[in-house]
Symmetry: C2
C-alpha cells in the first residue's frame, strides 16, 4: 500500500460508485455545513447594522428575521421543486442554462464559482480569526494555520464524498445540538418568566440610540442578514451524490437543513430580543459575538459555553467544505459542456473530480496568502455571488414551470417568481450598499469569468471542427518519411540510430556538425563505416551532410536544415531521430548535454505538421548489455566472413 493510498485511500473503480453514495445523516454535514454555519454570522450581521439604533434596533430584529425566514421558505420550496425537476443535479447553472439560455446559465455559474472560492478563503480565515482571538499566542501563525486547514479539507475531499461526511459529522452535530439546546432552554426560561428572563451572565449594556430609523437602514440590515442564507443551494447541486431514491433523500436532507436553520434563526432573534442582546462593534476592545452573549445569558459561561463556542469555531472553518463538495461538481458540469478545460470532466482515483479540487485549493490558497490569512473584508462580497445564483436559478424555475405546465404550474411559478424578485432585490441592495467596500470587484470579475468560459468553448468548437473526420482512413500516397539523423560521433548510439532509420525508411540524411573546435573522423571514415556495409547489403545508402557551425551552435544548424527540407519537399513527412542518453541517477542528468530535448522542442514548435520527432532512448548500463550483444553479432559475422 503506497503512501498515496494511505492518505487518499485506494483507487475506486467506476462501478464502485454506489458505495460512495450518501444518506441523509451524511448529507447534512456535507451539503449543509455552509448553510447551518451561516446561522453563526447572519443574525449578527443584521444586528451590527442596527447598532446605532441601540435599544430601538433590537425591536426590529424579530420582523427582520421573520422576513429572512420567509425568504428562506420561498427559496426552500423553490429548491425542493428543483431537486425533483433535475434529479441529475440541478444547480443554478443547470437550471438557468436549460430554462433561460446559455448566457444566464454561465452568469449563474460564474457567480457561484466566485462565491465558492470566497467561501473557502473567508470561511477558513473567519474560523482561524475566531480561534486566534481566543488563543492570542497563535496570532503569528494565522496564515500557516489557515493553509494547514485548507490542505486538510482538500485531502479529506480527495478521499471522496463518503469519507468527507464521516469526518465532518461530529463537529456539525455538536454545533447543531449545542445551539438548539441554548435556544430551547432560553425559550423555556423566557416563557417561565413571561418574556423577562434574568440572564445568567448579563450581556454588555446596549449603546444609547444615536441614529434614526430609516427604510434604507432596515434594507441594509435585511441584506446583511441574508448572508444567513448562503449555502442553501448546495443540496440541489449534488443530488447525484445521494443514495437511491436520490431525489427523496436529497429533499429530506434539504428539509432537515432548512428546518434546523429556520429554527436557529428564529430562536436567536427571539433570545436576542428578550435578553436585550445587541451586536458589539467588531474590532473594538469589548467585542463579544451575539451567540457568545446569548449562550452566556441563557446557560452561563461554564463547560457547555466553551463546547458551544468551540463548535462554532470548528463549523466556521469547516464551512469551506461545502464549497469543496460543490465547486468541482460545477466545474465538471461546465467542462462536460466545453466551458472549462476538458480535464475537469474526468473523475479522479477516488471518483471525485480531483482537478476541480486542485483549482479551488490553488485559488483559495492564493487569496489567503495575498491577504495574509485575514480576509474579513471579503465577507460582504460573497453574498452577491450566492444571491445572483439564487436569482438565476429561481428565474429559471419560473421559465421551467411555464414550459412544463400542469395544474400546479401557476402556484409554483408564483413561489419561484416571488423568490426571484426577492433575491434579485437583495442582490441590488447588497451591490449598492457594499459597492465601495469591494462589491465592485465581484461585479468586475464575473463578466471576465463569463468571457473566459465562452472563449474556452469557442476554442474547443474550432478544434473539434478542425479534427472532425467523417471519412474512413485514406491510404493513398503512403510514403515513408525522410529520416534525418544527427550524429555527433561514431558510437554504438549512432549505430543504433542508423539501424532504426534504415528499418523504417529508404531516404536517410545523416547530419554532422563541424564546429571547428572538436574534431571527429566521421567524415573521413564514412565510406568504411556506413557506405560499404549498406551498399553490400543492397540497402539505400544514407547521405552524409556536414554542416559548418562557426558560432559553435549545434541545434540551430540542424533546425535550419530540417526546415529547409520541409520547404524543399512540400509533400513529404520528415522524421528527425533524436537519440537521448537516459541516466540511472538524477544527479547524472547534469553530466550530459540535453540538446536532444531542446531540438525536439524546437522542431515541434518551429516546424509544421509534417515534422515528427522520434525519440530513441539509450539507457546507460542497460545499454551495455545490448552493446555486448551487438559486438557478439559483429564478431560472429566477421568470423563467418573469414570462414567464407
Amino acid at each position: 500500500m503506497s503512501f498515496i493510498d494511505v492518505v487518499l485511500g485506494r483507487p475506486l473503480a467506476s462501478d464502485e460508485d454506489h458505495r460512495q453514495k450518501i444518506n441523509v445523516k451524511e448529507g447534512i454535514p456535507i451539503f449543509g455545513l455552509d448553510a447551518l454555519g451561516s446561522a453563526a454570522y447572519g443574525p449578527e450581521a443584521a444586528l451590527t447594522i442596527l447598532i446605532p439604533l441601540g435599544m430601538v434596533g433590537i425591536r426590529y430584529i424579530l420582523p427582520l428575521s421573520a422576513a429572512i425566514i420567509g425568504l428562506l421558505a420561498i427559496v426552500y420550496f423553490s429548491y425542493r421543486q428543483t431537486i425533483e425537476a433535475y434529479p441529475h443535479g440541478g444547480g443554478s447553472y443547470t437550471v438557468a442554462s436549460q430554462n433561460l439560455g446559455l448566457y444566464p446559465g454561465l452568469l449563474a455559474a460564474a457567480a457561484l464559482m466566485i462565491d465558492y472560492i470566497l467561501v473557502v478563503a473567508v470561511g477558513i480565515a473567519a474560523g482561524v480569526g475566531a480561534l486566534v482571538s481566543a488563543l492570542p499566542s497563535l496570532q503569528t501563525h494565522t496564515l500557516t494555520i489557515c493553509l494547514g486547514i485548507l490542505v486538510i479539507i482538500a485531502l479529506i475531499n480527495l478521499r471522496g464524498v463518503r469519507d468527507t461526511g464521516w469526518a465532518f459529522m461530529a463537529p456539525t452535530y455538536i454545533f447543531v445540538g449545542c445551539l438548539m439546546a441554548v435556544v430551547v432552554v432560553g425559550m423555556c426560561k423566557s416563557l417561565l418568566h413571561v418574556g423577562h428572563p434574568t440572564p445568567v451572565v448579563a450581556p454588555p449594556a446596549l449603546v444609547p440610540t444615536t441614529g434614526a430609523i430609516s427604510a434604507w437602514l432596515l434594507l441594509k440590515a435585511f441584506s446583511s442578514g441574508c448572508t444567513a442564507m448562503t449555502g442553501v443551494e448546495a443540496v440541489s447541486n449534488g443530488v447525484m451524490a445521494f443514495r437511491d431514491p436520490k431525489e427523496k433523500t436529497a429533499q429530506k436532507t434539504l428539509t432537515v437543513i432548512i428546518g434546523v436553520l429556520m429554527f436557529l434563526l428564529a430562536g436567536i432573534a427571539y433570545l436576542s430580543r428578550v435578553y436585550h442582546v445587541g451586536a458589539t462593534l467588531p474590532g473594538s476592545g469589548n467585542y463579544e459575538s451575539v451567540l457568545s452573549q446569548i449562550t452566556g445569558a441563557v446557560l452561563g459561561k461554564g463547560i457547555f459555553y466553551y463546547l458551544t463556542i468551540g463548535s462554532i469555531l470548528t463549523v466556521l472553518s469547516l464551512q469551506a467544505n461545502t464549497a469543496f463538495a460543490d465547486f468541482p461538481r460545477l466545474c465538471h458540469a461546465l467542462a462536460q459542456n466545453g466551458y472549462m478545460p476538458r480535464t475537469m470532466a474526468n473523475r479522479g482515483r477516488r471518483l471525485v473530480y480531483s482537478q476541480g479540487i486542485y483549482v479551488l485549493v490553488l485559488l483559495a490558497g492564493l487569496l489567503l496568502i495575498a491577504f495574509g490569512g485575514i480576509t474579513d473584508r471579503l465577507i460582504p462580497l460573497f453574498a452577491i455571488g450566492a444571491f445572483l445564483a439564487f436569482t438565476m436559478s429561481q428565474a429559471g424555475m419560473v421559465a421551467h414551470w411555464r414550459r412544463v405546465g400542469g395544474h400546479h404550474a401557476k402556484h409554483s411559478m408564483l413561489i419561484n417568481g416571488l423568490g426571484a424578485i426577492a433575491t434579485a432585490a437583495t442582490v441590488i441592495v447588497v451591490a449598492i450598499s457594499k459597492f465601495s467596500e469591494g462589491a465592485w470587484i465581484t461585479l468586475f470579475v464575473i463578466p471576465g469569468l463569463l468571457a473566459t468560459m465562452v472563449t474556452i468553448r469557442k476554442h474547443y468548437d474550432k478544434v473539434a471542427e478542425e479534427i472532425e473526420a467523417p471519412m474512413p482512413l485514406s491510404v493513398e500516397n503512403l510514403c515513408a518519411p525522410l529520416v534525418v539523423v544527427p550524429v555527433e560521433q561514431w558510437s554504438k548510439i549512432a549505430q543504433r540510430t542508423l539501424r532504426f532509420a534504415l528499418a523504417i525508411s529508404k531516404s536517410i540524411h545523416v547530419l554532422h556538425i563541424d564546429n571547428e573546435e572538436c574534431t571527429s573522423d566521421l567524415h573521413d571514415r564514412w565510406q568504411e563505416l556506413v557506405e560499404e556495409p549498406t551498399r553490400k547489403a543492397g540497402l539505400p545508402v544514407p547521405e552524409l551532410v556536414v554542416l559548418k557551425s562557426p558560432y559553435r551552435l549545434t541545434i540551430t544548424p540542424i533546425l535550419k536544415y530540417v526546415l529547409e527540407m520541409q520547404r524543399r519537399f512540400p509533400d513529404r513527412q520528415i522524421a528527425v531521430v533524436v537519440p537521448d542518453i537516459i541516466q540511472k541517477h538524477w544527479y547524472e542528468y547534469f553530466l550530459h548535454s540535453h540538446r536532444g530535448k531542446l531540438l525536439a522542442l524546437l522542431l515541434v514548435f518551429k516546424g509544421n505538421q509534417r515534422i515528427s520527432v522520434i525519440n530513441l532512448p539509450w539507457h546507460l548500463e542497460e545499454g551495455s548489455v545490448e552493446a555486448r550483444e551487438m559486438s557478439a553479432q559483429v564478431a560472429e559475422r566477421l568470423s563467418r566472413q573469414r570462414a567464407a
Copy 2:
C-alpha cells in the same frame, strides 16, 4: 538586433578569436585587479593582529612586509617561469597535474575553485560593506546592491574578455594612480623631515601596549598579511587570452602587476611606520582603515582623499572580476579532461566559457544570499585555497625542472622549492590559526569537491566504454518496429497517426481505452473506418486492441500493454506513436490534456532500449489547412470511384 545582442554583444565566430586577444594595458585590469586590490587589505590584516602590541607592533610592520615582499618575489619568479613553460595556460591545475600527477592536480583545482567562489562573494560584500559604511542610508539594501553588482560583473564577462578589460580599466588605473601618489608624496615629505613628517590629519593615537611579542603572534601577522598575495596566479592561468607573442605579453603584464603591488606594499609599510599609523579594531565605533589614515596623514581629507577612498571601494568590489576571468577557464580545462560536466568545455556565443560564468554567479549568489550580503567572516578562509594552489603549482614546477633539466634547472628548482616551502608553511599556519574561525569548512569542502570530480570522470569513462563502436555499421536483422498507436476517438489526428504508422511498418497495434465513462464508437466502426480501406489497398490491417480501464486511467493501461509487448517480443523494436496537439497560444495549453507527454516520459523511463517514442504534432489552425487538403483528396477519390 535582439535584446540579447545589445546586452551581451553579437555572437562571435570561432575564427574571430584573435580580435578578443588582449595586450598589457588591458591585461592589468583583467588579471591584476585581484592582486592589486589585495594591497588594500593585506597590510591592514597584518596590522590588525599587531594591535595589542601598540607602538611596539608598528616597528614590526617593516620586517613583516619585507618578508611578504620577499615571498612575493619568489612567487613572481616562479610564475614567470610557469608562463614560459606553459604557454597554453599554466594554472596551478595544469602544472600540478602534469608534473605531480592526477590527484595533486585535482587538489589544486578544487582549492582554486573554492578560492574563486569565495573571492567573488567576499570581494563584492567587502566593497559594498565599505560603501554602506560611508553611506549608511543604503544599509538596508546591502544584499540587493551585492546581487546587482554580481549580475553586472557577470554580464560584462559574458560579453567577452576584451570588453571586460575596457570596463575595468578606469577604476584600476585610478586606484593604482591614487595610491602611488600617496606613497610618493608621503616618502618625499618623510625624506624632507628626516623620517619625522607632520601628518596633515593626525591618525588616531595608538592603543597602549597590552600584549607581549611572540614568534606565534608574528607568524599569525605574517600569514594574515599574506592575503596581500591572493590573485597573483591569475595571469599564468590566462596566457591564452593575451596577444602574440603571448608568453612575453603575459610576463610583461605579470611584471607590472607584481612590481606595482610590491611598491605599494613597501610604501604602505614605510608610511605606517613613519606616520605611526596602526590598525583600529574593526567594528568598533572609531574604526578607520589603514589606507584612509595614511591618505589623510599624507594629503589631508580633501577631494583627493575622497577620490582615493572611492577608488578603493570600487576596486574591492570589482576584484571579483579576476575570479570571473579564471574560474570558467579552470572549469573548461577540467571539463576537457572529463572532471567537470562536458558542457563546460564549450565556448559560448562571445567565445567565453559561459557555463562556468553561470555556475560562478549561482554559487557566489547563493553565498551572498545565505549570508545576507555580509560575508566578512569568510575572508580568512579564502587564503587557504589560494596558498594551497600556490604550493601545488610550485611543487609542480620543482618536478618540472627536475624532468626538463638544463643548466638553469638547479637555480630554478631552488627558487620554486623555496616558494613551495614558504607557501606550504603559510597554508599550515593559516589552517591552524583560523581553524576554529571557519577554515575547517574549506578543509572539509576540498576533499568533497575532489571526490565529485573523480566520480564525474569515472562516469564519463564508463559511458565512453559503453558506447564505443570500433566496428562499422551492422545491417543484419533489420526489422521495422512494432508500432503502437493509442487512439482516443476517430478524428483527423487519428487518421494521420495511422497513415504515419502504415508508412513505416507492417505491424500496427491500435490501442483504444474503454473507461466506461466516455463512449466512443471506434470499436463498432473499426471495420468500416480502417479494416476495409487497408484490406482493399492490400496493406497489412492494423489490429485494434480495446483496453478496459475501470479506474478511469488512460496512461497506465497503455504503458502496461507496451511493456507486455516488450516482454513478449524480446528482439523487436517497439515504437509508440504519440500524437500531440500544439497550441498557438500559451494559454491554450491548459485546455488540452497532456497525457501524451506524460506517456512519452513514462515509456522512456520504464521501458528499455527497444522502446522508442514518435512524437507526431498536430498544429492547431495550421492543421485545418492540411485537413482541408486531406478532405479534398478524399472527395477527389470518391468522385473518381464514381466515375469508374
